[in-house]
Each structure stands twice: as C-alpha cells, then as structure tokens.
Symmetry: C2
Subunit: 194 residues, 2 copies
C-alpha cells in the first residue's frame, strides 16, 4: 500500500498517495503522440515541435529520461536546504521515521523538475507551474534511478487571457523498482497558438 512506509493509515481525507495513479495504469502504454523513451533530449526538437495548449489532449502521456541519485547528491542537497539527520547521516538515519538515509522530498521534487525540463514534456514556453498537489508515497534512496511519467488530466483555456491557459498534469516519479516516490499534480501555464 502506498504510504505504508510511514506506518500510517490515514483517516478519510488524509490518505497518502490516494490519487497517485495515472489512467489505465495497468496498461502502461502511451496514449499521446509523444512517447519519449531511453534518454531523450530536447535538442532533438525544433522550436516548431514544442507543444502549445491547443496541441495537448486529455490522456496524453510523456515519459522522461532517467536520473540516478547517489548518496553524495542526497547529502549535498540536504546540507543546503534540508539539514536533518535522516538526509545527512547514514547511522543516525536508521532510528528515524525514514529508517535509513533518504533524499529530502524537495530534492526528489527538484530532480523531477530537471527531468521534466530536459526530457519530460516539450511545452512551448517551458515548464511553468502555478502550484499543485504533491505526495511522497515512498522515500528516494541512494542509488535509485528516477524516471517521470506524466499524463494530461485537464486543459483549461484562460477566460481572461486568450494567449494562455492551464494544463493540469499528473507526473509520477518512479524508481527502478517501479515504486512511486513522488506524485505531483501540477497546474502548468501553457501558451496558446495565437
């Protein structure tokens, strides 16, 4: 069960990872026109290939390249932004809620963003988020290889600005064991073709 690593079953409304799935999760096939595999790079795309809001479809999927997180990266991020024993000290981490060294959730989020920007979703105007929902159903451990799969959940042209709109996109970050370490449902600001 998602969230069980924290030893918690939450009352209704606070269940961790409750909506951390993509549609047709069991099929694991791309429904969109962009299915990027291996280690793609945006250098392959000309600007004309970038997607505007008008090009997106609900259910469309994107898969990023991968990034391997090592112990030094985990500790370097933690020293700067999240200096707590379970992110800094292998021995001290053993007796904490995380039961061993794990990356800061914000580090997992930052790596996810790097994967999205580099290879996760070729949006015109880049990846600009106004916010979203975030869950960390499993910890990121040293040696984990992370990959992000994203799905377009909703598309909302702006009422006030005809040149842009919001795409609601769910991005699942998985490790090499296919466990979800982060579920992000983001509101992205995407330009329209005008």
């Amino acid at each position: 069960m998602l969230g069980s690593w924290l030893g918690l079953q939450f009352p209704t409304g606070y269940e961790v990872g409750r909506e951390c799935i993509l549609s047709h999760e069991s099929e694991f096939t791309a429904t969109g026109i962009w299915q990027l595999t291996s280690r793609p790079s945006y250098e392959e795309f000309r600007d004309d290939d970038r997607l505007y809001l008008d090009d997106l479809q609900i259910g469309q999927r994107f898969t990023s390249g991968t990034h391997v997180v090592d112990e030094e990266q985990i500790k370097a991020f933690a020293r700067q932004f999240d200096p707590q024993p379970f992110h800094l000290d292998n021995e001290a981490a053993k007796n904490t809620l995380l039961s061993g060294l794990a990356a800061s959730g914000w580090h997992t989020a930052a790596i996810t963003m790097r994967l999205l920007v580099e290879s996760g979703m070729p949006l015109a105007g880049g990846i600009v988020g106004a916010g979203g929902e975030l869950d960390w159903p499993n910890p990121t451990r040293p040696g984990d290889s992370l990959q992000v799969e994203s799905e377009v959940l909703d598309i909302r042209p702006s009422r006030s600005r005809p040149d842009r709109g919001v795409a609601v996109v769910r991005s699942l970050t998985r490790n090499q064991r296919n466990e979800v370490v982060q579920c992000l449902t983001a509101k992205l600001i995407v330009p329209r073709r005008v």
Copy 2:
C-alpha cells in the same frame, strides 16, 4: 489578487492561491505558544522543548527567521534543477511569462524547507512531510527576503500507529513586501509522547 501575475483567472477549482491564507489573517498575531521572531535558532531549544503531536493545538502559529535570495543563488539552483531561461538569464527572462528573472518554484520550496527546519517549527523528530498542496501566487525575485509563517490546521493521531500522527500545517512564505510567494499546506508526520 493572488495569481494575477500570471494573467489568469481560473475557472472554479483551479484558482491559484485560493486558500493561501491563515486564519485571522488580518490580526497577524500569534495564537500559539511559540512565536519566534528575529532570527531564532534551534540551538536555543533543548530536546525536551521539541513539540510532539500531543503538544500541538489547532490554530497554533510559528514564525521562522528570514533568508535573502540573491541572483547567484537563483541561477545556481536553476542550473542544477530547473535550467530554463526565466531562471537563468536576466535578458531572456524579460519576454517570458515571468516577466523577468525569478527563482524556480522548487527553489522557493527548498528555501522554505530550510527556514522551517532551522527556525520554523521545533517538532520532535524533525520536519517530515508526506506531501501537501503547493501554490506559488507570486514569483520570488532577486533580493527578496523570505520568511515563513505556519499555522496548525488539523491534528490527526494515527489509527494504526499509536506512536505518531499527522499534523496538517499551512506555511506561507512571504517576501519583504508581505506578498505570499508560496503557500504550502503540508501533511507532517509527528511523533506522539509514548
């Protein structure tokens, strides 16, 4: 209006920053027992002073120290985790949705975490989040001085694990003009006194 910097008014359900307020926002007074001002440090607290779930009260507030974000920090974070023109290049940023250089939202989140860990909320067991909701109603700009004010919204002992529970905490990160640059409503895992 919150969110107006993106030039968007969202249909119901996607309004940015809609719940980015603390209770009794206009009063701006601490209702909790911990009102930390100036630049506090946890070195002042003995372990015995740390708060367990049983010590928290709904409505309780905490105020962190401050952190000044400069241009070099913004670009260094972006080079590593969010390499897009509006976080890296002052000139190129002018013609983007962000209308000038701004920090990655994930950088604002990471700085917020540092402030919470160092001086924002003296929780027993540290600050361990299982996820939450995140909004960036205004961009973080070079020179901004950030401070985090947090309020306990809900307290839920775990059904399955009597030694812990969840505190739902809203943390608003404000700049020196009192604008909210991030609204985080987090589910924190907090130990109980056993």
